[in-house]
Subunit: 355 residues, 2 copies
Amino acid sequence: MVDKIRLASVGTGRWARVLANAVARGERAALVSCFSRDEAKREKFQQEFGIGRSASSYEELLADPEIEGILLATPNDTHRELIVQALESGKGIYTEKPIAGSLEDARAIADAAQRTGSTFAVGHSARRLAGSRVMKQWIEDGSLGDVSLAETNFSNERGLELTPDSWRAKTKSPGGPMVQLGIHHADNLNYLLGPVRAVSAHSRRLYTKADIPDAVMAILEHESGALSYMGTGWASPSVYTINLQGTKANLRYDLDFKHWHEGHLADRYSTLQSQSHELSYGESHRPRVQLPHTDMYLEQIEEFAMATRGEATVEVGAAESTAALAVVHAAIVSSARQGKAVEVAEILSGQAKAA
Amino acid sequence: MVDKIRLASVGTGRWARVLANAVARGERAALVSCFSRDEAKREKFQQEFGIGRSASSYEELLADPEIEGILLATPNDTHRELIVQALESGKGIYTEKPIAGSLEDARAIADAAQRTGSTFAVGHSARRLAGSRVMKQWIEDGSLGDVSLAETNFSNERGLELTPDSWRAKTKSPGGPMVQLGIHHADNLNYLLGPVRAVSAHSRRLYTKADIPDAVMAILEHESGALSYMGTGWASPSVYTINLQGTKANLRYDLDFKHWHEGHLADRYSTLQSQSHELSYGESHRPRVQLPHTDMYLEQIEEFAMATRGEATVEVGAAESTAALAVVHAAIVSSARQGKAVEVAEILSGQAKAA
């Protein structure tokens, strides 16, 4: 019998269920406990996923010697306290992106991770999609040539459903869709094209009832010289796309957001098409690139779980997730400055802050 | 026998041939003369298109009483002089986009058109593509709901072929691909979403040997509140796309640039796909919208020709084409100001000038 790595879920909402389902698809880890302030929710979650016990307080959970790592799926503004507490108690912790809502919180988390040496991982799952991995490979092996332009969009209709009192609608979610959706592409673009030097952005509140932006566009200047674009909205049917333009070829990636929460299906509902200079139009104009079928959530949870035992290295930790958050905050600051470019370094150093 | 409207081609290069082929596909107009400084080129052009005569000077062409209108296909920086001269001689004149390279030239042309009352038309063909017309219809009849985000890209590999002494490589083509390709989308976006208030942009020279930008990205703020994006590059395989995100549906338009010069085929090598909230993935996820087959070049030439006889109204004249040029110049100025938004009104009034 395999000695499964013992994890606990903190948060029992929609995303905690996505992660619990991912754990159940794998062999390496198991949920052995869970915590939510609401007892009824804890019990329901325990039953649904066959979890042996639950904790009646976060402190009780952290004191449980059996638990090796925590999967955190709570609102962004709760991350700092819960993560730092876990790290300090010697528990590894995985959190959903973003690492936190503010850069200040992100820095506190990064400090705690470094100070304690406890395992810390952030769920920037998008870079683990088969399409992202294949795009990265095409860049690295030279198949794309030199990339000058990259375009990304991650949008859905969430803003049309939001009411003014939803947590996403408050300052807890600065940048609206940018910090919830766009941040995935901020990480993708850091991953694919290297560090972002500066960001120019505009954001608008147009059709949502909540007091948050629902239409954001940003231009990212990469240190490599490449320009990339992030479009992110909360006022339309869902979009998840990445287009890369290289001197040798272009790639277009398209994911059906409806399967976003199903890590094991997302690749199947994705297409990656290539386009080189020579091809003429027709069926083969943009031949489909075969994508393997991976499971982004399971992969990152197992990597995290194994890392708590020193058997794996965390791919996206405090540094990578803070870099993605800094792009989002640079966009927020730039938008308040009529699109004038804001340096990511300025954001990271705390010199520039969003209003 | 139809009394065809008598046109003359000025310029006998690649684009003059595209226009001459378009004229030949129609019934309403005919090329009766042509002019190019190079006699051998004139003769070759005459023979190829069965044109009865040619002029040995532009003045001779303008003095030809038979000619009702001129089709101009010469470099951007020659537009002003040739157009103003034609208008003042009482001839109607159609020019390829852009109206001119500089706003100053555009203003002089607009003044001459107004002063003389001669017919003036600019070849912003892209808005005449069936896909553009259908998108406009979906916006107007409410099928898209309210549009918050629009994304466009027009790129090709031209910059990788350019040498430092090509005309496009010099200041005659400010903004590089922006004024040659991007300007089509500037007009499309003005047409689809209404006037642009301000533009934020970044441009880069990355992989071309010529001293011009080959990677440009711009964010356009429309007076309606919508944000739109223009990506335009000269360092990758060709791209021509328009994506619209509305509260009720999204539309994606994609044209194969290889057929760009064939107005009668462009629609056939285009796809328009719609996406509403309800649809699940599969073959019907983004059903194709049927597109009629039009002929953008022929349509605009015939409209111009008929306008010279007062039988039609020009859709894209000095005002519309200057508005598109102003977007491009706002992008150039913004790029020099680190992306800070530049108002189109500031460009039109001559207060802000590109370096």
